[in-house]
């Protein structure tokens, strides 16, 4: 992994069209601003990994699908 030290309000440029700037530092929290083309997906890494894991869980379907009988409905129904 490339390691670069940046100060507040400094940024790095990735490729020709992605810029990541340090907008704020408070305790152990860093606020980043990202300029990137609209079609570039940007994810929080742990969210991205959670979705991958959940997709794989969802692909493992049980034999018994009776859990799918019924309809989503409002809770006040009888």
């Amino acid at each position: 992994m490339l390691v670069i030290t940046r100060k507040m309000d400094e940024s790095i440029t990735i490729g020709g069209n992605i810029r990541v700037a340090v907008l704020g530092i408070k305790g152990n929290t860093v606020k980043l601003g990202i300029d990137a083309p609209r079609q570039t997906p940007i994810y929080r890494t742990e969210v991205y990994q959670n979705i991958i894991a959940e997709n794989l869980r969802a692909a493992e379907l049980p034999q018994d699908l009776s859990f799918l009988d019924g309809h989503p409905g409002k809770k006040e129904g009888a």
Binding site: R44, E54, N55, R57, A58, A59, P62, L65, P72
Partner: protein, 160 residues
């Protein structure tokens, strides 16, 4: 050839009909223009780019998202707005942009459903990584919300 009884098989001779191998339903016939194209696949499954939607049962809110090329790869999906009518309204503007066209009916949203009989609740749906389908081009993407309002395992409770 006419043995399938699902609602997707209307008899339009001009449309090419594909026969899709599935583990759960055997061979299913789907019109070529009903195939959903996922240019990036689903997250974690980038090599599987073509799926079709099959109804679960008549009247059921659930559908199967079945891989066209891999018989054993299928998911249960549901329109999350049936469960959470305010789902999109509750999202910040940056996320709502991902769903442009839903209000006009040009785009549909699907949530992947996870079934784990041993868990409580056994049914959950992924509201952080919904699928957005452009009805016109049949192109679909799994998008990732920046909002932390919802989770990958949003409880899905049904009434009989």
């Amino acid at each position: 050839m006419m043995s399938q009884h699902n609602a997707l098989n209307s008899c339009e001779p001009s449309v090419q009909v594909l026969e899709i191998q599935t583990s759960r339903f055997g061979i299913v016939q789907v019109e070529a223009d009903k195939i959903l194209h996922f240019p990036d696949g689903l997250l974690g499954l980038p090599d599987h780019k073509e799926y079709c939607l099959l109804p679960h049962q008549p009247g059921s809110p659930f559908f199967w998202l079945q891989s066209v090329t891999t018989p054993y790869l299928s998911f249960i999906v549901i329109d999350p707005l049936l469960v959470e009518p305010d789902y999109l309204e509750n999202l910040p503007e940056a996320d709502r942009q991902l769903f442009e066209g839903v209000d006009r009916g040009d785009v549909i949203v699907l949530a992947l459903v996870t079934i784990k009989p041993e868990k409580d609740p056994p049914l959950t749906m992924n509201l952080v990584g919904p699928i957005v389908v452009d009805q016109q081009t049949r192109t679909a993407h799994q998008v990732v919300l920046s909002s932390t309002r919802y989770t990958c395992r949003h409880a899905l409770r049904l009434q009989s």
